[in-house]
């Protein structure tokens, strides 16, 4: 009867307003018409299981984004299935502009070629972390003429030849990430810069490229973002090319480039007054006066990271007076950060939203209070290992920075229950890290749980004073919790863990070293947390087969599991690896009750979908070569311990 009132057009408008995936799921379940609206309107699809792939793709015809990152068993045969229906009906591929195949390491050039070839409008392709990819896969990618964005991080086999293929084939590329493509050298980068003149963003992090590459890159007329993290052979001489090149450069990241010093940085800054982002973390030991002098001219600078550098109060004076538009500052592990320095900084830079003061050990409440008072729009604050910070700071933050979304208080011994009470006024908090804060107890956690209901990530690593009651409070408050770390909270027992089962949204759970946790607790978690996809049970020595039996029965979304040092036996392992059909990453070291045959069978049961495995080194010679070869051929990477 609703339909008599609402036209389909109106329904579509309503549907578009829906934010979360769970809301859309509810929508779909209302009635067939709502379902149809969903299937017509839906633009983006993230497939979780390969079993559903065929059905989903035949239903959603207007997709522009297909994400197969978390879908296991993406391989050449799957492509055949995906494209099989295209013959007799309108294909889902016709409007697809964005294809995410990250970690689809089972897919090889044949399947990749067919898949990208079937998508005529493809503009964005992500094949990052497909570590087996090489030049042939690059060749397949190069057939996508209209490609604008390509991510191929950690495609370890792609060499200059593959890059040349892409450079020649995809001349319209605007964004390209070559991070960790270790085979690529200056030659490839040079050719890329000659062929792809539209490039706006380029990431060559961790490549063994030299200054010659920078000479080529400097010729790119439209480059705006250049990331060169951890390039060991890049030096100041290369950066000098950038001074007169890349007229549109706005962001540069040269962090962890061992051969880059202040002079190189100065030449870049001299050439680009409009620079908005500068990341020079771990480049030079001291932030020299020369650099500071050159930074004066960067009126548009909004992000600067100088992690690991030695700074002085006068440095902050410079920032304060010149870089008024600063939004983010990274001072992680900087030497010489004092209260005075921070106070000077926040005096000028009142617009700061993201501040990283990790390991600035001399910071006290005085500095944090000043920061909270000046920068009312603070969104993210990292204070890891600032152990002089006490509840006074949290009081200021709780009263001034109500926009705070992320707070890292790891290893801040000064934080106590009272502090958490103050902090609970920051009701917008999404992420809170309290690892190693041994002074907080169930009481403090209850304050937070009561007020900060939006928190989706909570880290209680080694909060030894936390007990079952804390978890009870936690489960009643944090209904949106997605990530929880309870590792080494020795006070937690089965009773507490059973509360965790109430957290329906929980997807990541770390419970390392919970010596009191047994199969009973795990069963409750498995039965309750249906969305659990990442579970760490390392050193939970009391969990045996029955727990894993439950896990294999309930946790159908499990993608990553660490079972090391658990009391699981052959059968339990086989159940887990055989039944959890989304499982892609397993860590299975020191399983004392599992025999070699158990491993063999378990791996055979999951070898079609597993992408990463960590096994004890001795198994390398005990497992049959067939299973090892099969795993390898499927794109599974085995880490031997």
């Amino acid at each position: 009867m609703l339909l008599s009132v609402f036209t389909e057009d109106l329904l579509v408008r309503v549907y578009i307003k829906l934010g979360s995936e769970s809301d859309r799921k509810t929508w779909r379940l209302v009635c067939k018409d709502f379902l149809r609206v969903d299937s017509v309107t839906r633009r983006s699809l993230r497939v979780l299981r390969s079993e559903f792939l065929h059905g989903l793709l035949s239903k959603y015809k207007n997709l522009d984004t297909l994400d197969l990152t978390v879908c296991p068993r993406i391989e050449d045969a799957t492509v055949s299935v995906m494209l099989s229906q295209a013959v007799n009906s309108v294909s889902w591929t016709r409007w697809v502009t964005r294809l995410v195949l990250s970690r689809a390491s089972g897919l090889r050039y044949g399947g990749l070629e067919r898949l990208v070839g079937a998508c005529p409008c493809l503009e964005v392709l992500d094949v990052s972390y497909c570590w087996v990819y090489g030049d042939r896969e690059a060749w397949a990618i190069s057939s996508v003429r209209g490609l604008r964005e390509l991510r191929m991080d950690k495609c370890l086999g792609v060499s200059d030849v593959g890059l040349a293929k892409i450079a020649v084939g995809c001349g319209k590329l605007e964004r390209l990430s070559l991070k960790w493509c270790m085979e690529i050298s200056d030659l490839g980068v040079d050719l890329l810069c000659k062929k792809c003149l539209e490039l706006k963003s380029l990431d060559v992090s961790y490549l063994k490229v030299t200054s010659e590459s920078l000479r080529s890159i400097a010729s790119l007329p439209k480059l705006e973002l250049l990331a060169m993290v951890g390039c060991p052979f890049l030096d100041d001489y290369g950066l000098q090319f950038l001074e007169h090149g890349c007229p549109s450069l706005q962001a540069i990241d040269v962090s962890r480039c061992g051969c880059v010093s202040s002079s190189g940085l100065i030449s870049v800054v001299r050439g680009h007054r409009g620079l908005a982002m500068l990341n020079a973390g771990y480049c030079f030991s001291e932030l020299s006066a020369m650099v500071l002098y050159s930074l004066k001219d960067l009126k548009n600078l909004n992000t600067i990271r100088i992690d690991g550098a030695q700074v002085s109060d006068s440095s902050f004076q410079t920032f304060s007076t010149n870089c008024k538009s600063l939004v983010e500052i990274g001072l992680s592990k900087c030497v010489g950060v004092t209260n005075m320095g921070i106070m000077q900084l926040v005096y000028g830079c009142v617009g700061l939203k993201i501040v990283n003061l990790t390991c600035c050990r001399f910071i006290t409440d005085e500095a944090i209070s000043a920061l909270a008072n000046s920068c009312r729009n603070l969104v993210s604050l990292k204070l890891e290992a600032c152990d002089k910070v006490t509840e006074k700071s949290l009081d200021q933050l709780g009263s001034c920075c109500l926009q705070l979304k992320e707070l890292d208080l790891t290893d801040c011994c000064g934080v106590n229950d009272k502090g958490l009470k103050y902090l609970s006024r920051c009701s917008e908090l999404l992420s809170l890290k309290l690892g190693l804060c041994t002074n907080i107890s169930d009481k403090g956690l209850a304050y937070i749980a009561h007020n900060c209901t939006k928190i989706s990530e909570l880290d209680l690593y080694r909060c030894t004073s936390i007990g079952d009651d804390g978890l009870a409070a936690l489960s009643s408050g944090f209904k949106n919790l997605m990530k929880l770390n309870l590792s080494y909270c020795n006070g937690v027992t089965d009773r507490g863990v059973q509360y965790i089962g109430c957290l329906g949204e929980l997807s990541d759970l770390e419970m390392r070293g919970l010596v009191n946790l047994t199969s009973e607790g795990l069963t409750a978690v498995a039965a309750g947390c249906k969305k659990l996809s990442d579970l760490d049970l390392k050193h939970c020595g009391k969990i045996d087969d029955s727990g894993f039996w439950a896990l294999s029965y309930y946790s159908r979304n499990m993608r990553q599991i660490n079972m090391s040092y658990c009391a699981v036996s052959d059968v339990g392992l086989c159940m887990v690896l055989g039944n959890l059909t989304r499982l892609q990453d397993v860590k299975l070291v020191h399983l004392m009750n599992v025999t070699v045959k158990g491993f063999e069978l378990a791996l055979r049961a999951c070898c079609v979908r597993i992408k990463k495995a960590k096994l004890i080194g001795s198994l390398r010679f005990l497992l049959s070569t067939e299973i090892l070869e099969t795993l390898h051929a499927r794109g599974c990477k085995i880490r031997w311990e």
Binding site: D76, D160, T523, Y553, N579, T581, H632
Partner: protein, 534 residues
């Protein structure tokens, strides 16, 4: 052949020049017209033994080495065979007829010879003196002996030089004298001059081949063989494909040059020396020089004959270009857009490359074939090294060269070989060999993947090739040996709602494992009929 010719430590410059000078004399003498008939008759005697005999009765100061060389070169050049025999005959005749030089000579010649005679007499006296003194007082210091030797040598040198110049002054007058039968004369002369030059030429080539004694050979070459000879020889090794097209840019107006066309046989003959006028090829430079005499008086000077240097060729003459004898070829003069070839070498290489079979196969790759041996040599230098291949088919020995090429040409990309070069024994941590891929597919098949892949049958076939026993890959034997007895007693979790849990569990494993495990599940008695609708 080499052994006979090579060891000649005594073959100093004089050793070489003596015979040549001597032979010049003889040649001159042979120009006596009455002799021609006898020569002709002797021609018919050609017989190796006869030649040997001739050689033996040569004057004592004629270097033996050279004669042997001449003989040895005979079998390799049948074309020259007649000429050489000619010349040998003439030599013999020459020794008989030496006295007759002055018979026809004008006064100047007489004067010269008289002077020479005097000189020889003087030298004779000197040697007599030395002989006499030596008999008187033996055991003289060696220095004196050496001095005397030097003295004699110097005198001999001057005699020889004068002899040659005398002979040289005689040469231009040959033609008018023998005007009645010019061709015959030329032919004879061509033959007559052969021994000295041919011998030397041969030795030069030999030295070049051996490649070690070039330095001490250069002395000898200075006298009779021009250096151009050697250069020519070397050039042939370094000739490139550009030879042929070197004249592309040159736009000579038709008619401003003379077009010469060699016959196919001439082009393909193993010649290394070519007449710049008519293009005829010769195996030896000396033969060529003899041939050149037919093209005019300027080639008959002693200088041109002994040392055919640049002066001889740089004289103003009509530019010569060459035509390919192959009808229809662009390089053929009948072609509408005829493009002439610049040099004989160009003709040779063009003809071989374009109109001949590629008979030289690279011994390394066994695929590339060439018709010009120099091309093969060039290829062999790089064969196997050119691992960088462009999509256009061009290969490069260096990666940067390939990338430079790709940067230059629109649409060119590096070629990726279709076959993976990795062997079957690839360690599992690297490589993506075909075998591995096959295995993937095979396992896929074994697992009952629903891939509607037309290749499935093929894939299974591959499996059988690759894996010893595909069915045993996940053989139930493994399960049998493994104790699954405890499976029944497996503690059931408290939440378990009777059979559905187990039945869920088993089809689950059934779906993702192999027939083997299906067997196993049946054995345990759990009926997998009630599938969980997941």
């Amino acid at each position: 052949m080499d052994h006979k010719e090579m060891p000649c430590p005594t073959a100093d410059t004089w050793g070489k020049s003596f015979p040549s000078g001597n032979e010049l004399l003889k040649n001159i003498s042979s120009d006596d017209t009455p002799l021609t008939s006898s020569q002709r008759s002797q021609q018919k005697w050609e017989d190796p033994s006869m030649l040997d005999y001739n050689a033996r009765i040569e004057p004592p100061f004629q270097d033996f080495k050279q004669r042997s060389e001449t003989q040895s070169s005979l079998p390799c050049n049948p074309n020259n065979h007649n000429k050489v025999t000619d010349e040998e005959d003439v030599q013999m005749n020459g020794t008989i007829q030496t006295e007759k030089i002055q018979d026809w000579d004008p006064r100047a010649m007489l004067n010269n010879l008289t002077f020479l005679e005097q000189k020889i007499h003087q030298l004779q006296d000197l040697v007599h003196l030395i002989v006499g003194r030596r008999s008187q007082a033996l055991g003289r210091p060696d220095e004196l002996v050496a001095q005397q030797k030097q003295l004699i040598t110097a005198d001999l040198t001057s005699i020889i030089v004068q002899l040659i110049s005398t002979a040289g002054s005689l040469l231009p007058s040959v033609k008018p004298l023998s005007g009645t039968t010019p061709t015959g004369q030329l032919g004879q002369l061509g033959g007559l001059f052969l021994p000295s030059t041919v011998g030397l030429n041969g030795s030069v080539q030999l030295q070049n081949n051996s490649g070690s004694k070039v330095s001490d050979q250069s002395n000898q070459m200075d006298i009779t063989v021009n250096c151009g000879n050697e250069q020519n020889y070397n050039m042939e090794e370094h000739e490139s494909k550009d030879d042929e097209d070197a004249d592309e840019g040159e736009n000579l107006p038709p008619g401003s040059y003379e077009i010469l066309q060699l016959e196919k046989e001439e082009i393909l003959a193993p010649h290394t020396h070519f007449c710049t006028i008519c293009g005829k090829g010769f195996k030896r430079d000396a033969n060529l020089r003899m041939h050149m005499r037919g093209h005019g008086d300027e080639y008959k000077t002693p200088a041109a004959l002994a040392k055919p240097n640049k002066e001889a060729t740089s004289e103003p003459m009509l530019i010569k270009r060459y035509s390919c004898p192959y009808a229809g070829c662009k390089r053929n003069k009948e072609h509408k857009k005829f493009q002439p070839l610049k040099t004989i070498l160009c003709v040779k290489n063009h003809y071989k490359r374009t109109h001949c079979d590629k008979s030289y196969t690279c011994s390394r790759c066994n695929t590339k074939k060439f018709s010009v041996i120099a091309d093969l040599k060039t290829h062999e230098k790089h064969c196997g090294k050119d691992k960088w291949l462009c999509s256009c088919g061009t290969t490069f020995s260096r990666k940067d060269k390939l990338f430079g090429h790709i940067a230059l040409f629109q649409g060119h990309t590096p070629a990726i070989p279709l076959e993976e070069t990795k062997g079957p024994n690839v360690p599992p941590d690297r490589g993506e060999g075909n075998e591995a891929i096959n295995k993937v597919r095979s396992i896929n098949f074994n697992f009952g993947s629903n891939a509607p892949n037309g290749n499935e049958v093929q894939n299974t076939a591959d499996v059988k090739g690759n894996i010893e026993d595909p069915t045993g890959y996940f053989s139930p034997l493994n399960f049998d040996t493994w104790n699954f007895g405890g499976f029944h007693e497996f503690p059931r979790p408290p939440y378990e709602d009777s059979e559905s849990s187990l039945s869920f569990l088993i089809p689950g494993s059934c779906n993702y494992t192999v027939p083997g495990s299906c067997n196993f599940t049946q054995k345990t008695g759990a009926e997998s009929s009630s599938n969980n609708p997941e």
